[in-house]
C-alpha cells in the first residue's frame, strides 16, 4: 500500500507537468484547430533562456528569470502567433502543423548550438528535501509541483468561466464569427490565448527543470506525453487536459512499477488507443456534433 502511494504521488507530480503542457495543446487547438508540434520545446526553452541570461549575461537568478520568461512570452506567445500562425492559418491547418514541426527543430537546435548540448542544473524554488509520511518518502518538490500546477490550472479555469474577459476569450476560440458579431475583440482574445499558453509553458519549465535538468532535448518526451494527455482528457477542455495529464502521469508511473519496464511507454499509448475507440472525444471532452 505504501509502495502504491509512493508510485501514485510520483505519477501525480509528473502528470501535473504533462497537464500544464497539455493545456497548451488544447488552447492552440481551440483557437486554430491545429496541433502545435513544438509544444514540448515550449516547455524546454524558458529554462534554457533563464540559464543563458545567468551564464552569458551574468544576471542574478531573479532578474534572469524575469527577463527569460518575458522574452519567451514575447517570442513564443506574441511572435509565434504573428509570424507563424497568422500567415498560415488561412490556408488550412496542415501547413501550420508542419511549420510547428520545423519550429521545434529550430528551437531544439538553437538551444543546443546557442547554449549547450549538455544538461544543466537549474535552481529550485523549493528545498530539495523529503518528508516521511506513512513510511514513504515524499519529495517537497513533487508536492510543490502538484500544488502549483493545480492552482495555475484552477485559476485558468476560473478565468475562462467566471470573468468577462475569460468568457470572451472562450467565445472567440469556439466561434470567432459569432464573437465578432457580439462585439468581442476577437483578435486580442486570440492573442491572449497564445500569451497564456506561453506563460503556462514557462511555468511548467520552471517547475520541472530542477528535477529534469535543463536540456535542449527535454521537449521530445514532454511533448509526446502532453499530447497523449490532451487526447486522453479531451482536446477541447481545460479540465480535460488536467485530468488527462494526471491520468497519464500515474499510469506511466504504475506501468514502470508493475509492467515490464522496457514496454513502459506502451501503456499510455495503449490507453490512448482504447480511449479513442470507446470515447473518441476524450474522457472529459465535449462531443462535437457531426456536421453536414
Amino acid at each position: 500500500m505504501a509502495e502504491f502511494l509512493a508510485y501514485l504521488i510520483a505519477g501525480l507530480a509528473t502528470g501535473a507537468i504533462y497537464a500544464l503542457a497539455a493545456i497548451g495543446f488544447t488552447l492552440v487547438w481551440q483557437t486554430s484547430q491545429t496541433i502545435n508540434f513544438a509544444q514540448g520545446e515550449f516547455v524546454m526553452l524558458p529554462a534554457i533562456l533563464i540559464l543563458a541570461a545567468v551564464k552569458l549575461a551574468g544576471l542574478p537568478v531573479w532578474a534572469a528569470a524575469i527577463l527569460g520568461i518575458a522574452a519567451f512570452i514575447a517570442l513564443f506567445g506574441w511572435g509565434f502567433k504573428l509570424v507563424i500562425v497568422d500567415p498560415m492559418i488561412r490556408h488550412g491547418v496542415l501547413p501550420l502543423a508542419i511549420a510547428t514541426m520545423a519550429l521545434s527543430i529550430i528551437m531544439k537546435e538553437g538551444a543546443k548550438d546557442g547554449f549547450s548540448a549538455e544538461a544543466q542544473r537549474f535552481p529550485s524554488l523549493v528545498p530539495q528535501e523529503t518528508v516521511s509520511f506513512l513510511g514513504i518518502s515524499i519529495s517537497l518538490q513533487h508536492i510543490a509541483i502538484i500544488i502549483v500546477a493545480c492552482l495555475a490550472i484552477g485559476a485558468l479555469q476560473w478565468f475562462v468561466t467566471r470573468t468577462k474577459t475569460g468568457r470572451q476569450m472562450q467565445a472567440s476560440a469556439q466561434n470567432p464569427n459569432v464573437a465578432l458579431i457580439l462585439g468581442i475583440p476577437v483578435a486580442q482574445m486570440v492573442m491572449l490565448t497564445f500569451l497564456i499558453n506561453a506563460a503556462l509553458a514557462a511555468l511548467a519549465s520552471i517547475l520541472i527543470s530542477p528535477i529534469y535538468l535543463a536540456k535542449f532535448s527535454n521537449g521530445e518526451v514532454i511533448g509526446l506525453f502532453a499530447f497523449i494527455a490532451a487526447i486522453v482528457g479531451g482536446f477541447n477542455q481545460v479540465r480535460g487536459a488536467l485530468a488527462g495529464g494526471l491520468i497519464v502521469g500515474v499510469i506511466d508511473s504504475l506501468a514502470a512499477a508493475y509492467i515490464s519496464t522496457s514496454y513502459r511507454l506502451a501503456v499510455p499509448l495503449v490507453l490512448l488507443v482504447v480511449i479513442i475507440l470507446i470515447k473518441p472525444e476524450g474522457l472529459f471532452g465535449r462531443k462535437e456534433e457531426r456536421g453536414v
Binding site: G11, E109, K112, L213, S217, D252, T261
Partner: protein
C-alpha cells in the same frame, strides 16, 4: 649511431614535408552524432577532437602537415551516417573518426573496411569488434573488458550478494547489461531487479521507488551521464540508501556537477575520467574546461585520443598511407612517452579492442577519489 640515423631520417622527412605543409593540409573527417539522441555524447567527442587538432597543429602538425578537421553530423541515424562516412571517404579523408553510437557504427563500418581506411570510433558495445573488421578501432575499453572488473568489485569490495541492475535501453546500456549479467552469475550474485530505462528519460521517480523496493545489497547503474545524475537525485529523494555502483558514466565530473549531494558515496570502475590520477587526464580536463566552459565526459577524452592515435601511427609509418595507418595501429602499443596525446599506455588488440589500466573510484564530498588502480588484462 642507430639513433642518429633515425633522427636524420625524421629530419629529412620533416624537411621534405615542410614545403608541402604550406599548401597541403591533411584532411580528417569526423562523422558523429551532433543532433538527435546521441548529440551530447557526440558533441563531447567532437570537442575533444577539436582540442587535439588545435594542440597538434600548434606544435607543427603531423609530419609537418597541419590537420584540417571537418565534422559531419549523423543525426544519430544509420542512413545519414553511412552517407557521411561515404562522403568523408570520397573527399579523401585520411582516416574516419567516429561515430560514438553503436548503431551508426554498425551501419558505416563496412564502408571504411571496403575502402581500407581506418575508422576510429567511440563505441563500447562488445559486438562491434567481433565481426572481423580489420579497420575498426576503439578508443575505450569494450564492455566485455570492463564488466568482469565490476563484477569482481561487487563481490570482493562491496560484498553484495544481490544486485539491482538499472540500465538505459540503448546500444550502450543494453550492451553493458548483457555483459554484466553473466559475470554476476559467475560471481554468484543474484539479480534482484532488472530495470530498463529510456534514453533521454527525465523522470526517474518510479524507477527509484522500484529500486528501493527491490532492496538489494547494491545497485548497479549503467546509464549515460545525465540520466545517471537524474537517477541519483531521484534515488536520494526516494531514500534509497544502498551502495550505487557503476562505470565511468556514473562517476564522472559531469554527474557529480549535476547530481550534487546525491552523487556522494557512488563508487565503481572508471576507464577514462578527467579526475583519474593521471596528470595528462587532469591537464586535458583543465584545457577542455577553459576552451568549452564545461567539464568533459569520457567521450571528450576518447575524441582527443582518436586524433592522437592517428598522429602516432602516421609518425610511426613516416608517411600518409591510409591502409598503412590501420596496419600500424593493429596490435600496437602506444605509450605517452612516444605520443603524449594518448595520455595513458594503450594496447590495441588485433581485433581493434583496447587494453589499458583502469581505476576503482568513489565519490566523496563532491570529488572523485581513486581507491585503486587495476592493471591491464594482457600487458
Amino acid at each position: 649511431m642507430k639513433q642518429s640515423i633515425l633522427m636524420l631520417g625524421i629530419a629529412t622527412a620533416a624537411a621534405l614535408a615542410l614545403p608541402a605543409a604550406a599548401q597541403e593540409k591533411i584532411k580528417l573527417v569526423n562523422v558523429v552524432e551532433l543532433s538527435g539522441a546521441g548529440a551530447t555524447a557526440g558533441t563531447n567527442w567532437k570537442n575533444g577532437i577539436d582540442l587535439a587538432v588545435a594542440d597538434i597543429n600548434a606544435r607543427g602538425g603531423i609530419l609537418g602537415r597541419q590537420i584540417e578537421i571537418v565534422h559531419y553530423d549523423t543525426q544519430t541515424n544509420p542512413g545519414n551516417t553511412r552517407a557521411a562516412v561515404q562522403r568523408a571517404i570520397d573527399e579523401g579523408t585520411y582516416a574516419v573518426l567516429g561515430p560514438v553510437f553503436s548503431g551508426p557504427i554498425g551501419a558505416s563500418m563496412q564502408i571504411a573496411q571496403r575502402a581500407e581506411i581506418a575508422q576510429i570510433v567511440g563505441g563500447e558495445a562488445a559486438g562491434l569488434t567481433r565481426q572481423g573488421n580489420q579497420y575498426l578501432f576503439r578508443t575505450s575499453l569494450s564492455q566485455s573488458a570492463a564488466m568482469p572488473k565490476i563484477a569482481a568489485y561487487l563481490k570482493n569490495t562491496v560484498k553484495a550478494s544481490s544486485v539491482t541492475v538499472v540500465w538505459v535501453n540503448n546500444d550502450f546500456g543494453k550492451g553493458g547489461r548483457d555483459a554484466i549479467l553473466p559475470e554476476l552469475q559467475k560471481a554468484g550474485i543474484r539479480v534482484a531487479a532488472d530495470i530498463s530505462t529510456e534514453q533521454g528519460q527525465a523522470d526517474f521517480a518510479a524507477d527509484a521507488i522500484k529500486v528501493k523496493n527491490a532492496n538489494a545489497d547494491a545497485v548497479f547503474v549503467y546509464l549515460n551521464e545525465e540520466e545517471s545524475a537524474r537517477f541519483l537525485r531521484a534515488a536520494k529523494q526516494q531514500g534509497v540508501d544502498k551502495p550505487m555502483v557503476g562505470e565511468t558514466t556514473l562517476l564522472g565530473a559531469k554527474v557529480i556537477e549535476l547530481a550534487g549531494d546525491a552523487a556522494n558515496g557512488v563508487r565503481g570502475h572508471v576507464g577514462l575520467s578527467i579526475d583519474a590520477p593521471v596528470p595528462a587526464f587532469q591537464e586535458f580536463g583543465r584545457k577542455f574546461q577553459a576552451r568549452f566552459n564545461y567539464a568533459s565526459d569520457h567521450n571528450g577524452l576518447k575524441g582527443y585520443m582518436a586524433v592522437a592515435m592517428v598522429k602516432w601511427a602516421t609518425e610511426k609509418q613516416k608517411k600518409f598511407d591510409r591502409k598503412g595507418l590501420a596496419d600500424t595501429l593493429r596490435g600496437a602499443t602506444i605509450t605517452p612517452a612516444e605520443e603524449p596525446g594518448i595520455m595513458i599506455t594503450t594496447k590495441i588488440e588485433a581485433n581493434g579492442d583496447l587494453d589499458r589500466e583502469s581505476f576503482l573510484a568513489e565519490v566523496e564530498n563532491g570529488k572523485q577519489i581513486i581507491k585503486a588502480t587495476l592493471p591491464m588484462i594482457n600487458p
